[in-house]
């Protein structure tokens, strides 16, 4: 065995090279798992504003973002003031008759909707991976 090793003329860096190769062969796994954790941290959540079935605008709901408002007005003068705060959304003011959409309050979970029937306006929340869908239903 000793003679064999001598015959093969191993040099000090050979072991290092083989070790580096073995370690680097696991690199893709490490990279992929890191990427996955980074992606799962940012759950892509959006609120889609639809009027009369037509998509008007989408808002990204990202936790910690600045609060901002968006005023929707159509030709008849119907207006809804939509407020986005962090990862949730609500209708702050509306000039509709029943004010149900305003009283509905904040929506933040996947599949939640805010409806303003008089204006045919719907805000729906969608997450890219469908999380928050598994709420218990009794």
């Amino acid at each position: 065995m000793k003679e064999f090793i001598k015959n093969s003329r191993l040099k000090p860096w050979d072991g290092v090279i083989v070790l580096v190769l073995i370690v680097s062969s696991f690199l893709p796994i490490i990279l992929f798992s890191m990427q996955e954790t980074a992606e799962s941290a940012v759950v892509e959540k959006r609120a889609i504003l639809r009027v009369d079935g037509e998509e008007i605008k989408t808002f990204d709901l990202i936790e910690g973002q600045k609060t901002f408002t968006y005023l929707y007005e159509d030709e008849d003068g119907d207006s809804n003031l939509i407020e986005i705060q962090g990862d949730r959304i609500r209708i702050k003011e509306a000039d509709c008759g029943d004010q149900i959409c305003v009283r509905r309050g904040w929506a933040s979970k996947n599949g939640e909707t805010i409806v303003c029937l008089p204006h045919k306006l719907v805000i729906e929340i969608q997450t890219a991976d469908g999380s928050d869908m598994d709420d218990l239903i009794y």
């Binding site: 003329r9 040099k11 860096w13 090279i17 083989v18 073995i22 062969s25």
Partner: protein, 183 residues
Amino acid sequence: MSRLRRIIFIALLVAQGVIIGLIENMIPYPFAFAPGAKLGLANLITIIALFTMPKRESFMLLWMRLILTTLLGGSISTFLYSMSGALLSYGGMLLVKQLGPKRVSIIGISATGGFMHNVGQLVTASWIAQSWTVMLYLPILSFLGILSGIAIGISANYLLQRVDTLRRFQTEYEEQTHVSWKT
């Protein structure tokens, strides 16, 4: 040594490489365990070429071996796989060889070659499949690749020590480069 001798030497090495490659193609790879794993025996020829002739000629030898193996028993897709693997392993081996005879031996060089061969194949596979997840096969493949690389390094050692013709070419090449890999 005359130019004719060099050309015959290259031709013989190419022929051997092609034959080794064809025989290797006949060995069924363990699909369930490691799909696409190959021993990379033809790498032996590349290593011998690296130690007995200038880079230009060994590069030409590599291409001739690739093209002939494809023509004799391959398809475009196998050509893509073996080309990317062979080119990457050639580059990797050249890089490691730059470390010099004091630091690395043939075994380290050929282990790098085997590993880079697998990397090249997987890069091509993930390009064809349009998904980087193919790269997750790398640990399984490179385990075999490094092992066979070490084995090939040992056999290249013996070849370069025992075969007279190879030794003569190696001596001549080392006189040109002033780097001696013989100890």
